[in-house]
Symmetry: C2
Subunit: 143 residues, 2 copies
Amino acid sequence: MTREESDSHDEAEIRRLIADQQRAVCAKDVGRIMSYYAADVVIFNVKPPFQTRGAKDWRRTWETALAHFPASFGIETRDLVITVSGDLALVHCLRRFTGMPGQKWIRDTAIYKRGQGRWQIVHEHYSVPFDPETSRAVFAVEA
Amino acid sequence: MTREESDSHDEAEIRRLIADQQRAVCAKDVGRIMSYYAADVVIFNVKPPFQTRGAKDWRRTWETALAHFPASFGIETRDLVITVSGDLALVHCLRRFTGMPGQKWIRDTAIYKRGQGRWQIVHEHYSVPFDPETSRAVFAVEA
């Protein structure tokens, strides 16, 4: 494979991982969700704490969050960008949960790293912006 | 160079770019700040809008922000992680401005891409978490 073919092949693989992980979230399968994260992942989540270090603490966050989710829900994604080079892949997009009330768009940046042939997320950053005048989160997404 | 030596060399280069860009920010040199960003950069900033696409709009954000900054200030960084592979580099850290009142820590994720031998930021994500009960930004950083 040329380098271009290899990167294109890797991008398809990342796209498959994203879809698989979304299915794991909708199935509330925390074990499967966590299989996409490296043990030493660092997370900047949309809610406190400021940062979460390590898969063990991040697993607890998923367990707590999913306990409050309805039995059935979906995930909508827009403005997805995937960039792959060597053993790193950048993914950024906007996401929201569907089929449950009041769910807003969230900005998501995820970086995958390949080790021993396997891609895992080493860093993920979820957020919404905030209005500096009021310190309140702003959920409005421009077209 | 072996691949490990090459990645280590690239990491030193990224570290130098980060320091150079911080100096450009403290010098309020918008032209030089923008030289670190790719033309098609996508920014998730700490303040609205939800996303900023392209260096032209991002440049305007810097111009507006720096107009409100004091003549002299610094930048403090902690928990810096740099990961390089191929032509992509991931940088994440916490940052705050110093020498001006009320400046809080912000989470920063930046992804650099190398094209024609030159590293530029293709995506950057700044944020603070928010409390879902109050919708207010939370600035407290754990130790």
